[in-house]
């Protein structure tokens, strides 16, 4: 566990597009889905996720239960985790730098709750939870 911030690699959409491209074209003699089309697919998936988060926020906004019930909405990705959107009431706070009193306005927050499968996979890379839905990822 000597991994430090400075040596940590960052995975971006490019890597994900690459994995999707390889998966969709495996066992095929000709390319079925181009890299460009794979990128479009990945983009749309993330766009839909963002749209859904926005939509869930609007739903919360019009929830008659209001803040008292601490309502929340979830976007559930089985095997990965839940994206949870919550409403936070305004509350008094302090600027930690100078102790000055400030009012923290009401807001919506987006959090992620990892699934048990994801947590186990990260802690036991050789265990069954780390295996993939598709076998093409190396």
């Amino acid at each position: 566990m000597s991994n430090t911030q400075s040596t940590q690699q960052t995975v971006t959409k490019a890597q994900i597009v690459d994995d999707v491209y390889r998966e969709l074209n495996k066992d095929k003699e000709q390319t079925l889905v181009t890299r460009k089309a794979s990128a479009k697919l990945v983009d749309q998936v993330f766009e839909l996720i963002k749209d859904e988060i926005h939509h869930l926020k609007d739903e919360l906004d019009s929830d008659p239960a209001g803040a008292e019930e601490r309502p929340e909405r979830r976007l559930k990705i089985s095997g990965f985790g839940n994206f949870i959107i919550r409403y936070k009431r305004s509350r008094p706070g302090r600027n930690p730098q100078n102790g000055e009193k400030i009012d923290i306005s009401s807001r919506y927050v987006l959090t992620f709750k990892p699934s048990q499968v994801l947590k186990k996979a990260i802690n036991h890379p050789d265990g069954p939870e780390a295996s993939k839905v598709s076998e093409s990822l190396s």
Partner: protein, 93 residues
């Protein structure tokens, strides 16, 4: 919304693909992200946010039901931080 509903929506936007292929693509996206976190990599999705793995030291905990002391081993926990653009999007209309 669930993953299967997400797959439905993606399939609607790509009628040229077989539903099965869309399903595979969506699964690979999350597998790819899972694999990145297993490899201790950070994931950055523009417009959405970042995922990373943090380490938690072992500590002595307590079973809240029985009050019994238990040892909690060191472990890794995945974290997500919403991107600025998305935070703004859900707070300003």
């Amino acid at each position: 919304m669930t993953k299967s509903e997400l797959i439905e929506k993606v399939a609607e936007r790509f009628p040229e693909y077989k539903k099965r292929d869309v399903e595979r693509a969506v699964n690979v996206i999350f597998d790819s992200m899972k694999q990145a976190l297993i490899n201790d990599h950070r994931i950055e999705i523009r417009g959405l946010g970042t995922f990373k793995v943090k380490e938690r030291d072992a500590r002595n905990g307590r079973n809240p039901k029985s009050g019994e002391g238990v040892e909690i081993p060191d472990r890794k926990i995945p974290f997500f931080k919403a991107g600025r653009a998305l935070k703004l999007k859900i707070n300003v209309d």
